[in-house]
């Protein structure tokens, strides 16, 4: 079994709880795939993001997400799957209003 982080990207104007349909979709996803979901959360909109970059011997702290993109990271799931095909199959059931998801394999350190 491997772990995959599934990042959910969508329209930044969308906020968690905005739409009952999307929330219902996540509930249903949780019920159907509970056995392979190792974690997951919805994130507050990008307007609440704070970025920190090292700056010589200190840090610069700024308002806003690390990268300004058309589609913003809105939440994630950590999914357990035997291989990429299995992970893709699970990820296709995640609600993705006005966006999509990105699947990234998690590195295993021995």
């Amino acid at each position: 079994m491997s772990q995959y982080l599934v990042l959910i990207y969508g329209d930044p104007s969308y906020e968690a709880g905005d739409s009952d349909d999307v929330m219902k979709g996540h509930m249903k996803f949780g019920e159907n795939h509970g056995a392979v979901i190792a974690g997951g959360n919805a994130l507050q909109p990008t307007g609440t993001a704070t970025s920190i970059r090292p700056d010589g011997d200190g840090f610069t702290v700024t308002d806003g997400p690390f990268l300004e993109t058309k589609e913003a990271l809105g939440g994630y799931y950590l999914v357990e799957a035997a291989d990429l095909d299995a992970a893709i199959k699970v990820a296709k059931d995640i609600p993705m209003p006005g966006g999509g998801v990105e699947i990234r394999p998690v590195v295993v350190f021995d």
């Binding site: 035997a82 291989d83 990429l84 095909d85 893709i88 699947i103 394999p105 590195v107 021995d110």
Partner: protein, 387 residues
């Protein structure tokens, strides 16, 4: 051979090394003992044995590397031909970039060297080596499985495999750059791969692509004249089309045209209408337009609309063709596509609107990089009636 060895190694690089070792061993053994009755089986066995040796010796080291994900072998598994099918689906996984899919397929299924694959795509060997390494790393780290997809996913995954092979064929059929119109080597590889795929997976989609390649490639000998000039369908010597390939293609099209035919089957059906027409003028252009309408529903691409407009021009006259072409001028995907101004220029020329035709030919020349096609356009331009 490589496909069967991957089954043992679960690692593409190691499998490739073992295959090379087996060939080296064959050179000395066959010299001493003579060539075995079934050289292919001998090599496969040698390669798999070599893999088993290496794995035993490196058991601890290898345990740390990510291995290909595969199902336990079937009981009666002799390594053929399912392994080749698994390898096709691994190489053409949609999670890999299409050009990486084609490169991996050429490297691992056709056995081309990295240098040969690099030449096929006109990039440097280090660039291609890096591209192939990146793809292999992704297969290992993202756990792209070595498996034939299940029935539910199969149609989508076959489409990805067919798209990779079709890209290989198109690259060979009309080389995007360079002095040759056709790259025979690439066309031959695409044909071999499709034949192999069809023997392993006899489904209508696969038969559609095989028919399309056969019917399109049947015209290969007539696409340029003795001096290397481009000849359009209109001017090709139909008696020199490859009748064996046409017969095989026509038989396949019938099977591929299911009630809901796929994209390649419809393109093959269009090629079949041309293959059966006694001449360009006597082609059943209404049938061609009808098939393009079906194809558009299946694959609403601007390039298909362009080809449909050309057929409309033949079925209903140059003015109708021009009218069908006009809305495509605003299509961003066609903004740098040389065939659009070339088609416009041809309709304008037939309507006697030479000034406008001249402008369109000049525009087409700016957008065309294949020298055979460029020469064709330049000649059409200079043949235009003086104003």
């Amino acid at each position: 051979m490589l496909a069967a060895t991957v089954r043992v190694t679960r690692d593409l690089d190691l499998a490739e090394e073992c295959v090379q070792d087996a060939f080296a061993k064959a050179l000395t053994t066959w010299d001493a003992d003579g060539v075995p009755r079934n050289p292919g089986a001998w090599l496969t066995t040698a390669s798999r044995n070599r893999a088993l040796d290496v794995i035993r010796r490196e058991a601890t080291l290898r345990a740390k590397l990510p291995l290909l994900v595969m199902d336990p072998p079937d009981d009666d598994d002799d390594g053929f031909p399912d392994d080749r099918l698994r390898l096709v689906f691994t190489c053409c996984h949609p999670a890999l970039a299409t050009e990486a899919q084609v490169a991996l397929t050429l490297r691992l299924l056709c056995g081309l060297s990295t240098a040969e694959v690099a030449r096929a795509f006109l990039v440097s060997e280090p660039t291609m080596a890096a591209r192939i390494t990146r793809a292999k790393k992704k297969i290992a780290h993202a756990h792209i499985p070595y498996r034939v997809p299940d029935e539910e996913d199969l149609p989508e995954r076959i489409d990805a495999v067919l798209a990779a092979i079709h890209l290989l064929f198109s690259t060979g059929h009309t080389a995007p750059v360079g002095d040759l119109l056709v790259r025979d080597d690439l066309v031959g590889r695409a044909l071999d791969l499709t034949r192999m795929l069809r023997s392993l997976l006899p489904r209508p989609e696969v038969e559609g692509l095989l028919a399309l390649i056969l019917l399109t490639d049947a015209r290969r000998a007539t696409r340029v004249d003795a001096a290397g000039r481009l000849l359009l369908l209109e001017h090709q010597d139909r008696t020199r089309w490859d009748q064996d390939q046409i017969a095989e293609g026509l038989a396949l099209v019938r099977g591929a045209l299911t009630p809901d035919p796929g994209r390649y089957a419809l393109q093959a059906a269009i090629a079949a209408v041309h293959a059966e027409a006694p001449s360009y003028q006597e082609t059943d252009w209404r049938e061609v337009v009808g098939l393009y309408d079906l194809l558009l529903r299946r694959w609403p691409s601007p390039v298909v609309r362009l080809n449909r407009a050309v057929a409309v021009g033949m079925a209903a006259g140059a003015q109708a063709g021009l009218d069908a072409l006009d809305p495509l001028g605003a299509e961003p995907a066609l903004a740098t596509y040389g065939y659009l101004p070339a088609a416009r220029a041809d309709f304008l020329r037939r309507l006697g609107r030479y000034d406008e035709a001249r402008t369109s030919y000049e525009e087409a020349l700016l957008l065309t990089e294949n020298s055979v096609e460029r020469r064709f356009l330049a000649e059409r331009l200079s043949d235009l009636e003086p104003t």
